[in-house]
């Protein structure tokens, strides 16, 4: 096909994970408008969705076959591994500096590996502690001032009072089947206590994951189950919305449904902290294949899908996540209120990306398995040490084989 001014038409393949129906619909619309606007140039995108529970495997298999699409989205913590395999194009120069300054720092951090930018998302995520004002009042628990969070001791104290008043204090969603929930939700406990999951620079987990600080922090977390403040095997996916628990350790994705269920009774605060305030962040983000032959179109798509009006606003309207750009917040009046205000405050202050290491997938899985066992009473130090050894083994193997190649 030849377009009006005689240049060949260029269509790029774009893959995306299939999340909620509304989100996929929004993305289809974003792509349709992109095609409409760029018709004169002959640029277009061909969008394909894959179910999100197989999407990462699908990407890996496509990479193995040398058949990655020109542009695709991937989960934030996996960016490092794809960069290491040389699969992602450096997009540091795609955005003018002042435009990059409009993105939340967490989103830039998530997509930056070794000082270069490889991926950008149109939305970010946030995690906090929702609570039911009435239930807290019934147990004579006073919530902290707006925008402030509890110290760990205050949090435990509140749980005690709630339990004494015959309520189930907090839902931690231990029935979540995805390993990622555990790392996403409970890394802040580790960080807040002054620890780390991995020393990314030194590629070391041994002595880091089972450090003294972490053993202390994770013991404090284990206490929530040991003292019956949280269920180790909940059945209900949304116990807080059902009125079963007084508090909910959960993410932005529950904000709409909690507001609907609770209305004025819904309160929210940052996560309880051991020493420092801490929060997770990160979500799906867009990248360009290093091998694309249609880079100009792929870059145009990246700019489009992360553009405020062209990508961010319609996507966030559909999925209820946190906009990744400061100037997009003006389109969402709810961000002047609770809980939304806290999402933004966190992302601009205390939130940090999960470790940007090529070994993230292994780390998250072993850490999740350790947390599952610990919640059910396993010895904290021994179990973290076991996870340490397992992850370190994988790292050492890789490092060894790289060293042999260098020789």
């Amino acid at each position: 096909m030849v377009v009006s001014d005689g240049r060949a038409a260029e269509t790029i393949r774009v893959w995306s994970h299939q999340g909620q129906e509304a989100e996929s619909r929004a993305l289809r619309k974003i792509a349709a408008v992109f095609n409409e606007v760029n018709r004169g140039r002959g640029w277009s995108v061909e969008l394909t969705f894959f179910p999100d529970f197989q999407y990462t495997e699908k990407l890996a298999v496509a990479a193995a076959a040398g058949d990655l699409p020109d542009a695709f989205d991937l989960d934030g913590p996996l960016v490092a591994r794809f960069v290491e395999a040389g699969l992602l194009a450096d997009v540091s120069e795609v955005y003018p500096r002042e435009e990059l300054a409009d993105f939340l720092p967490t989103i830039i951090e998530q997509g930056t590996i070794g000082g270069r930018l490889y991926a950008l998302g149109s939305f970010d995520s946030a995690l906090l502690l929702y609570y039911d004002r009435e239930m807290l009042a019934r147990a004579d628990v006073s919530a902290p001032a707006e925008g402030k969070g509890w110290s760990w001791a205050e949090f435990v104290d509140a749980c005690e009072k709630l339990k004494a008043a015959g309520m189930e204090p907090v839902g931690l969603h231990m029935n979540e089947s995805a390993d990622e929930w555990f790392t996403y939700a409970f890394s802040p406990v580790v960080w807040s206590g002054g620890g780390e999951l991995i020393d990314v620079e030194a590629r070391r987990v041994r002595g880091v994951l089972a450090s003294e600080e972490n053993v202390r922090s994770v013991r404090a977390w284990q206490g929530l189950f040991a003292r019956g403040f949280a269920a180790t095997d909940p059945v209900e996916p949304d116990p807080f919305g059902q009125g079963k628990t007084a508090m909910d350790w959960s993410g932005h994705w529950m904000a709409r449904s909690h507001l609907k269920a609770k209305g004025e009774r819904l309160g929210a605060m940052p996560l309880p902290m051991l020493a420092e305030p801490s929060a997770p962040c990160g979500s799906w983000c867009w990248a360009i294949s290093a091998r694309t032959e249609k880079r100009a179109v792929a870059e145009a798509w990246l700019r489009w899908v992360t553009g405020v009006k062209t990508g961010v606003v319609p996507t966030v309207r559909a999925n209820g996540a946190v906009p990744s750009r400061r100037s997009a917040f003006a389109h969402f009046p709810e961000y002047s209120e609770i809980p939304y205000r806290i999402f933004r405050e966190q992302l601009e202050t205390s939130a940090r990306a999960r470790p940007r290491t090529a070994f993230y997938a292994t780390l998250t899985q072993r850490f999740a398995a350790a947390l599952r066992d610990i919640s059910r009473g396993a010895d904290v130090e021994a179990r973290l040490r076991k996870a340490e050894d397992e992850v370190q083994r994988v790292i050492d193997r890789k490092t060894r084989s790289v060293a042999e190649v260098a020789r």
């Binding site: 495997e57 298999v61 990479a63 193995a64 395999a85 180790t232 396993a378 193997r397």
Partner: protein, 296 residues
């Protein structure tokens, strides 16, 4: 040999070609690739960078405590499953092997779990095995409670998780083996049974001396297939326990899956798969050696 037979012998290989072609493309070639990758450090995301590693992957696997744990768990699962499921299937088959309509319905009932999708059953059984919390408990514990037996945290107790999964798997799979035995029972010579009865042999002796010998081939088949299926364990532990608690339900297939898609170590995953294939092949061969089929 007639001229026609000679002619046929010359042409026969051509008729094999389509089948051999399919085998080459879908079995032999992938197997060859896997063998080559298993002696390299291939990365799933960039297999073109693969380098020769010799037997490094193999020696590393054999000394990896997690791989050994996976192997031990899977073997233990097979040891639990094979005799119990075979015996249960034979018992059920003998029980429902009657012509009346009501028994036919019972056969269908026992066979049902085989056709229901495993992930669905995994969810159902996770609920059945629910430990007690906040005054609520799963049906299994509730049923035991009636007999005064204390409830357990079935899927969370490192000692109980694998046996609990085995019990569920037997319940799920036994219907299939029952059907195979039922088919085998049709082949038991009726006159021998009648003769034994006239000679005054009781039901037990008829079973041992008439029924079992004529079921020999069926038995070999069932034991072999059950062993192979047991070693392919993956769905139940992956969905119900994620290989936990403390890796006690980590299966070989889950290990291979993780090596491939989490660690993205294609070479190592292929080595694990080759070891897995060798082991299952060896086991099947040994079973055939020890109680090989009777050639009729």
């Amino acid at each position: 040999m007639t001229a026609w037979q000679r002619d046929f012998a010359k042409r026969a290989p051509w008729f094999l070609l389509p089948a051999l072609g399919l085998l080459a493309v879908f079995v032999i070639w992938p197997l060859g690739r896997a063998l080559w990758w298993s002696v390299s450090d291939a990365d799933l995301l960039a297999p073109e960078r693969a380098r020769w590693m010799g037997l490094g992957n193999y020696s590393d696997l054999l000394t990896d405590p997690r791989f050994r744990r996976a192997f031990f768990n899977t073997a233990l699962f097979a040891v639990l499953i094979v005799p119990l499921q075979t015996a249960a299937a034979l018992g059920l088959a003998l029980w429902v092997n009657r012509p009346e309509r009501a028994w036919r319905w019972l056969r269908v009932v026992f066979f049902l779990p085989v056709v229901v999708s495993l992930p669905v059953l995994a969810v159902v059984w996770s609920l059945l095995y629910q430990p007690e919390q906040a005054g609520e408990t799963g049906l299994v514990n509730a049923a035991l409670g009636i007999f005064g037996i204390e409830g357990q945290a079935w899927l969370r107790d490192p000692q109980l998780a694998l046996p609990a999964l085995a019990a569920m798997s037997i319940w799920q799979g036994v219907g299939l083996q029952m059907m195979v035995f039922l088919a085998g029972l049709q082949g038991v010579p009726r006159e021998q049974l009648e003769a034994a009865q006239i000679d005054g042999a009781g039901a037990w002796r008829r079973l041992v001396h008439v029924v079992l010998p004529s079921l020999r081939n069926t038995l070999v088949f069932v034991v072999t297939v059950t062993t192979i299926l047991a070693f392919r364990l993956f769905v139940q532990p992956y969905l119900m326990t994620r290989g936990g608690p403390e890796d006690r339900t980590l299966s070989l297939v889950q290990y291979i899956y993780e090596a491939t898609f989490l660690n993205l170590e294609l070479g190592r995953a292929c080595a694990a798969a080759v070891l897995f294939l060798t082991w299952v092949g060896l086991l099947t061969w040994m079973q055939r050696m020890f109680f090989g089929e009777e050639k009729s």
